[in-house]
């Protein structure tokens, strides 16, 4: 009988509810705010609107906006985590213990890293690509709209799982990459690591599907005449990123699957006994992890290439070199992973090889920076918010590049690896590169989606606050690292470190001010949307095709798919004089109907993940089965599209007069 009961309840138990006051507060706060949100939607009677316009939409722009909203909410969570980490280190010098227990602190930094990479940076990336890339390509949508929706809902399911762990069960304490044996069964039998594994696993499959979708979209859905070398740089960067996603994410999937086999079925891939080897895990996770860094940063490079050319009112300098540099980085990013563990004891030749390969990546990256600078040279630069983000990027990213080159020298890395110097370095490149890039992109393309611009001054202030906050938060960490402060310390004995940790904590507050200013910018712009309205569809005198359609972009993107002749097609059309398409150029178009399949698959994946974490096999197996059944059922459906006739399109484009 007890066996049956165990089968039903798995390892659910009351002891897994949070015990310490900080976590209890968060665990109560989150469901309460979720309930408030649900209540608000019900009160405003917005459920039907939400369902038809957003949740079941297959329009890439809508999916992109949903990605961005989730990512921005998660940015707040990740930032709160960062604030807690720095609060702890500001209050725990010497005998002081600080507000957090060691275990909570370790869960918080694991959650901070996991959330910031997987649910903020990846979310912003997928959001922006969905929002703007089809428009830049002159395409109607992604190649696979339904798969796009499934990707998003898997991403959302992973996000829910991470946050659920706060309410019930706790999160992993093993760091964002969860090295065994610390995350193995022997040292970590609880559900925290399983939450980490399954949230990444589910979101990771969504990412893989997105990578496939972007790749096919770029190769097959470009407007007629847009050869590869007439394609803007942003889609180029997404192409390279999607190749990296398709090659790297399966490694993550397999690695996490092996770790979960160790944990749930007692296998021995990564244990130190029975023939297993944890070094294998470290190699595998970085074979995904290093390309992942470039998956995030290359699209940001693409964004800046568009932003600089637009606001310098000049053709992008060295377009071809930019493409070659992207391709070079794509190849090189797969042969540098070992630089994450020079200190594991590999031979001198192995370390030297990976060190030199790592430095070689600095060459194409440097070339890109020179090309941007020479795009500014002899331009007419207006310093709007996206351009200020770009300037902040060059400063921050270059400093990160220097510390990166330093750490690429193995013999030098031995002195800084896994210290706060390393922490400062990767925040330098990820915040400076990825976050600044996506903030620039969101500001830049905002009017195309919502029909009004973001208030520029508030945007610039946000960028300034981020830049100053960044310096305050991370320069002290470089120094602390050189002083001997290793990463992930919740307590330290040397009181001389304290002032540096306090300055760093102040920096986090200034960054939070930057986030607040960005939020204020959005709210204020919404309030002033009439004054900020973009009535032309081309508010910055842009260069690429997305500026040729009205703002907000119609859900079918282009009434008539443009034929491309030049690299900066819209710029040249404007110089030649834009002509409206003739009536006979309008054709009937077919668009996918809304579908709840993505939402259902995401929901089932969430149930599956939760069930497997708690060993509820009787729920996990049917949930996985249902996912397959639902998708097969969908493939058997007919009439998944609806038609907009040429007549309707013509009328919409030319007003009622026609």
């Amino acid at each position: 009988m007890s066996g049956f009961w165990e089968f039903i309840t798995g390892r659910l138990s009351l002891e897994y509810f949070p015990q310490d006051p900080v976590t209890i507060g968060a665990a109560i706060g989150m469901p309460v705010s979720a309930l408030l949100l649900i209540g608000l939607i019900t009160y405003l009677k917005r459920w039907k609107w939400l369902w038809t316009n957003w949740l079941t939409s297959l329009d890439a722009k809508k999916i992109g906006v949903m990605y961005t909203i989730v990512a921005m909410v998660m940015l707040l969570r990740g930032l709160a985590d960062a604030g807690m980490l720095r609060l702890q280190t500001a209050l725990s010098a010497g005998d002081a213990t600080g507000p957090l227990s060691s275990d909570t602190f370790q869960q918080v930094f694991t959650a901070h890293g996991t959330i910031m990479i997987f649910f903020v940076a990846m979310g912003l990336l997928f959001g922006l690509v969905n929002v703007i890339m089809p428009l830049m390509l002159g395409a109607r949508d992604m190649a696979y709209p339904l798969m796009n929706s499934i990707s998003f809902w898997l991403f959302a399911a992973g996000m829910v799982l991470v946050n659920l762990s706060l309410v019930y069960g706790g999160f992993s304490n093993g760091g964002w990459l969860g090295y065994p044996p610390l995350t193995g069964l022997e040292y970590n039998p609880g559900p925290g690591v399983d939450y980490w594994i399954w949230s990444l696993q589910i979101a990771g499959i969504g990412s893989l599907l997105s990578g496939i979708n972007f790749f096919v979209t770029i190769l097959k859905c470009r407007a007629p005449g847009m050869t590869m070398f007439k394609m803007p740089i942003f889609p180029w960067s997404v192409l390279v990123t999607s190749v990296l996603i398709m090659l790297a994410f399966p490694i993550l999937t397999v690695t996490l699957a092996m770790l979960s086999l160790d944990r749930t079925l007692g296998m021995h891939f990564f244990t130190s006994d029975m023939g297993g080897n944890p070094m294998l895990y470290i190699n595998l996770i970085w074979a995904w992890g290093h390309p992942e860094v470039y998956i995030l940063v290359l699209p940001a490079f693409g964004i800046f290439s568009e932003v600089v050319a637009t606001f310098a009112k000049k053709r992008l300098f060295g377009y071809r070199t930019m493409v070659y540099a992207l391709l070079a980085i794509m190849f090189l990013s797969f042969i540098v992973w070992q630089h994450h563990f020079f200190t594991m004891g590999a031979g001198a030749n192995v370390n030297a090889f990976f060190g030199i390969m790592t430095m070689v990546i600095a060459i194409p990256t440097g070339v890109k920076i020179f090309n941007w600078l020479f795009t500014m040279y002899r331009g007419r630069i207006s310093f709007t918010a996206p351009m200020v983000w770009f300037l902040a990027f060059v400063v921050t990213f270059t400093v990160g590049g220097v510390s990166g080159v330093m750490m690429a020298v193995p013999a030098l890395d031995y002195q800084v690896h896994n210290t706060l110097f390393l922490v400062a370095h990767f925040h330098n490149v990820i915040i400076g590169g990825v976050v600044f890039g996506f903030f620039a992109g969101m500001t830049y393309w905002f009017p195309k989606i919502f029909g009004f611009r973001l208030h520029d001054r508030l945007g610039r202030w946000s960028a300034y606050a981020w830049q100053i906050g960044f310096i305050l938060a991370f320069i002290p960490l470089y120094i602390l690292g050189l002083m001997g402060a290793v990463r992930r310390l919740d307590n330290y004995s040397d009181p001389a470190w304290l002032p540096f940790f306090i300055v760093s904590g102040v920096g986090v507050m200034v960054v939070a001010l930057g986030v607040g200013l960005f939020a204020l910018q959005v709210v204020y712009s919404l309030w002033k949307r009439k004054e900020l309205r973009d009535s032309t569809g081309d508010p910055y005198d842009g260069r690429t095709l997305e500026w040729s359609v009205p703002s907000p972009a119609p859900h079918y993107n282009f009434a008539v798919i443009p034929t491309v002749h030049e690299r900066d097609e819209w710029w040249y059309r404007k110089q030649k004089g834009v002509t409206k398409p003739a009536k006979e150029e309008y054709k009937d178009i077919w668009l996918p109907k809304n579908s709840a399949i993505g939402l259902i698959v995401g929901g089932l994946a969430l149930v599956f993940g939760f069930a497997i974490i708690w060993h509820l096999w009787w729920i996990a197996v049917p949930a996985a089965g249902l996912v397959i059944i639902v998708i097969v059922w969908r493939t058997l459906q007919d009439e998944m599209d609806y038609c907009i006739t040429a007549d309707e399109l013509y009328k919409e484009a030319n007003g009622a007069a026609a």
């Binding site: 130190s272 009112k313 020179f370 193995p410 013999a411 310390l489």
Partner: protein
Amino acid sequence: MKRFVGVLVPLCVIGGLLAGGWWLLNGASIDVLQPAGAVAEQQLALLYLTLFLSALVVVPVFTMLIVFAVKYRASNKAARYEPEWSENRLLESLWWGIPIAIIGVLGVVTYQTSHSLDPYKPLASDQAPLEVEVVALRWKWLFLYPEYGVATLNHLPVEVNRPIHFRLTADAPMSAFWIPKLGSQIYAMNGMQSELNLVANQPGSFTGYTTNINGEGYADMTFQLKAFKTAEFSDWVAQAKQVTPQMDKPTYDTLVAPKSDTRERTYRLTEPGLFATIMRAQSGHASHGGSH
């Protein structure tokens, strides 16, 4: 006026940051920049060389960024404007070429120092190295001195100017052994042995850390390396051989429990081959075997 403020505010911010930084750094002890051993000294020289080589690119980048941003601002109609100028083979070769040259130099340096500063490479000296076996435990450091029959917990007495040869393993999740004043860290992993060669060239007490997260007591896992002059070190060894507590398998087993323990202790090492026993147990060749 507005333009004046636009220049003044950033200058004040930068000045304030620099002054604050100077005030904080004045007199601070920065272990990596103040080495006490030959290995860390060479690594510091490498740090400065790398910074210098990077500066060859970074200084022009920052200069151009500022100059171009000021000169080609939209309001400056006097500046040349060439909206179509987007290719120049000479310039592009220049900024492929210069970084390639710099990375070429740094690559050679990298290759050489990867060999000369290989943690496994014995240090040149006319003295035989001090052999120390290191076991990372949850959450304390055990040091065995097989040649003297001595063991210590959380402190590591050594002799100044005599090379130290460490062999390391862990009876804990992967840990890492690092004494910033002496240089080079290395991972310590269960069931495996890694090696490290260091030397202290100044007497003194230097803090050591684990740099790899290994569970709840991670932050408590520090130790003191104490570099003694030859005579003092011999005295210490002689005294240590006389202490009552013994380090053998039963004592060792009491240390394995996951518990922070920052006290410094000294033992007589009475069980030869303890290090090998610990390592074997972890790799599953003896009775102790993980999770099954």
